[in-house]
């Protein structure tokens, strides 16, 4: 038997001898651990849900034409290939991806193919479209499909991408309100085809002279697609503009990918110096939500930390009383071969055992409380868009933290009693 295990055995025996005190101390540690794990899991869960709702990429900068353009004087205002090249050359820019809004109207006269859909008779749905560079969304294209222009005269469908958030909002609000069928979530809807009329607008004056039928094929879902738009390959939008004689008005937007999030402020400043503007709507919302979640979680975690500190104080007080009450036992242990350092370790081990036991029970209680809270939320809250399946996140490190923090707090609380125990003079105590 190793010596450490021997000392641990003595610590356990000491706690066993004072079960009531040990239980009270463990309960204090348990409350701290439960609060810490519960609030952190809640904060992480809400943060994850907020990220789904506002999936702003910290490295993306969306550049739009300047509101006051001086054009040739400063070279700003219009977003064309030359400007895109200058943006790509900015320090900190890893890539630039132009976006171009389709100015040829596209409308869907009916539901997607293969879906038993309650489409209102005679309704046409106008579809706003933006062309995006395939590189911008290459990670979001489903398996076995491609996001590339089918070319003029092709009978292949035009690939499109949809915002994940639009699908969520449609399923949770539009579909129930209209009494129409919900679309399946995730990549299972990839491959869905929607017949459309290219050149047709629900506003008669805007319908082009030439209208033809085409098919749109959903090839993926992307957070990089604006929420109420469909994304087509940039080449398709350019081709349609050429087919319908639309003049070149430059890109609608250029997205810059920063090398790292820290480069974004400098990039934003450089973009503004070029006479262009930065669309910070999505990013600012995401940052505001993130800040609110962070501050709230921080406050709750601080509260839990205060509870752990109070538990440490309670353990310190209780163990001090316990040490004062068993100075003779400590002296006997010294007579039997315990050094002052051993006595200190025994008392510290008592604190650690109390903290660990409280932490295990506290983490389990937090997990149970989270399950109950989720069940209550599902039962009581309406099914709103982006409502998460769980409001809690339990990464692997969280239960470990729930054990380590109360154990550390308890050991800290045991420091002073351990020092007192180590100072017991056996000769004087046993005399």
């Amino acid at each position: 038997m190793t010596r450490a295990r021997g000392l641990l055995w003595i610590a356990v025996a000491s706690l066993r001898a004072d079960r009531r005190g040990a239980l009270v101390n463990a309960a204090a540690a348990c409350v701290g651990a439960a609060a810490l794990v519960f609030f952190l899991a809640l904060g992480l869960g809400i943060s994850r849900a907020a990220h789904r709702m506002f999936p702003a990429d910290a490295r993306l900068v969306d550049v739009v034409p300047g509101t006051v353009a001086l054009g040739g004087v400063l070279g700003g205002g219009r977003l064309d290939d030359e400007t895109a090249a200058r943006l790509a050359a900015l320090p900190g820019a890893a890539a630039v991806w132009p976006r171009l809004s389709l100015r040829v109207p596209v409308a869907a006269p009916g539901p997607p193919r293969g879906l038993d859909y309650n489409w209102p008779p005679g309704m046409s749905l106008q579809i706003p479209v933006v062309g995006v560079a395939p590189e911008l969304v290459k990670g979001d294209v489903g398996p076995g499909v491609a996001f590339e222009d089918p070319g003029p005269g092709s009978d292949r469908p035009i690939p499109v991408l949809l915002s994940r958030r639009l699908l969520e909002i449609y399923n949770k609000t539009i579909a129930p309100a209209w009494g129409v069928r919900r679309l399946p979530a995730g990549l299972s809807i990839v491959g869905l085809e929607l017949p459309v009329k290219v050149g047709y607008s629900i506003v008669p004056q805007k319908t082009e002279d030439r209208v033809y039928v085409a098919r749109l094929k959903l090839v993926g879902l992307s957070d990089r697609v604006p929420i109420y738009l469909l994304a087509m390959p940039l080449a398709t939008v350019r081709r349609l503009h050429a087919e319908y004689g639309k003049d070149d008005q430059g890109y609608t937007e250029v997205t810059i990918l920063a090398r790292q999030p820290e480069d974004v402020p400098a990039l934003t400043a450089a973009v503004r110096r070029m006479g262009l503007s930065v669309d910070e709507g999505e990013r600012a919302t995401a940052e505001r939500v993130g800040t609110v979640v962070l501050v709230t979680t921080g406050a709750l975690v601080f509260l839990a930390a205060v509870m752990c500190a109070l538990a440490a104080l309670a353990i310190a007080q209780s163990l001090s009383a316990s040490v004062r009450g068993r100075t003779k036992e400590i002296a006997v242990l010294q007579a039997l071969g315990a050094a002052p350092s051993d006595v200190r370790r025994i008392v510290l081990a008592e604190g650690a055992i109390i903290g660990l036991a409280g932490g295990i029970v506290g983490a389990a209680l937090a997990f149970g409380a989270a399950l109950l809270s989720d069940r209550a939320a599902i039962a009581l809250l309406p099914d709103f868009p982006f409502r998460p399946d769980t409001f809690f996140a339990f990464p692997a490190w969280l239960p470990a933290l729930g054990l380590v923090v109360p154990a550390l707090a308890a050991v800290l609380g045991a420091l002073a009693p351990a020092a007192t125990a180590a100072r017991v003079d056996p000769a004087r105590t046993l005399s």
């Binding site: 038997m1 021997g6 066993r16 001898a17 003779k328 071969g337 050094a339 000769a427 046993l430």
Partner: protein, 223 residues
């Protein structure tokens, strides 16, 4: 086995110093049962704790089981107590939260070098209890044992580590006459088996069994 030279000990009160031991010389050889007698407050227990390496704040020289205490660290003294010294106290000093056998196991659990597996420690503790006739009381807490049984558990605990020196502080003070006689007899047997036994007592029956009786008065030993 025990060698004390010019040992002095002073208790410090708030504003004065009270000398307890005033230059004690003592030699106890292996196999001896030596009784130290003297009035209450004469420093008998203090002398015992100096000889047992429990008291470090004394003057003079002390050598126990061949180990000089001067300059020995707290850990070094702990090792010496664990391996070479066994203590028996008047009030038994068993840990109330532990069973009889767990009390006996303590020196094994505190061993720094040559630590044994717990089953081996437990087996040896069972044998030590059997040697003092308490095999069947191994799982009993001290509160359920009689005074004599508690003292025998304390002796088993003191002998567990097979010490070279056994130090007993009024070992029969809380026992009835018959039980006390049994304990004294056991000390005699241990001494005859080669153990060095130093007993502090004011009871004559203990003195009668000792090979030597030393009187401690005014902080000095007189034969």
């Amino acid at each position: 086995m025990i060698r004390l030279r010019a040992v002095t000990k002073v208790f410090r009160d708030a504003d004065r110093e009270v000398p307890i031991l005033r230059g004690v010389d003592l030699d106890v050889a292996a196999g001896e049962l030596v009784a130290i007698v003297g009035p209450s407050g004469s420093g008998k227990s203090t002398l015992l704790y100096v000889a047992g390496a429990l008291d470090r704040d004394f003057g003079g020289e002390a050598t126990i089981a061949g180990v000089p205490l001067a300059g020995l660290s707290a850990e070094g003294r702990a090792v010496l107590r664990n391996r070479a010294v066994g203590f028996v106290f008047q009030s038994f000093n068993l840990l109330q939260g532990l069973s009889a056998i767990e009390n006996v196991m303590l020196p094994g659990l505190l061993r720094r070098d040559g630590a044994e597996p717990r089953p081996a420690i437990r087996a040896r503790a069972e044998r030590a209890l059997a040697d003092v006739g308490l095999a069947e009381k191994a799982r009993q807490p001290p509160a359920r044992l009689s005074g004599g049984e508690r003292q025998r558990v304390a002796i088993a605990r003191a002998l567990f580590a097979e010490p070279k020196v056994l130090l007993a502080d009024e070992p029969t003070g809380n026992l009835d006459a018959v039980t006390g006689e049994g304990i004294i007899r056991q000390f005699g047997e241990l001494a005859r088996a080669g153990l060095t036994v130093l007993v502090v007592t004011h009871e004559e029956r203990v003195s009668r069994a000792a090979s030597r009786v030393l009187h401690l008065a005014d902080g000095r030993i007189r034969p």
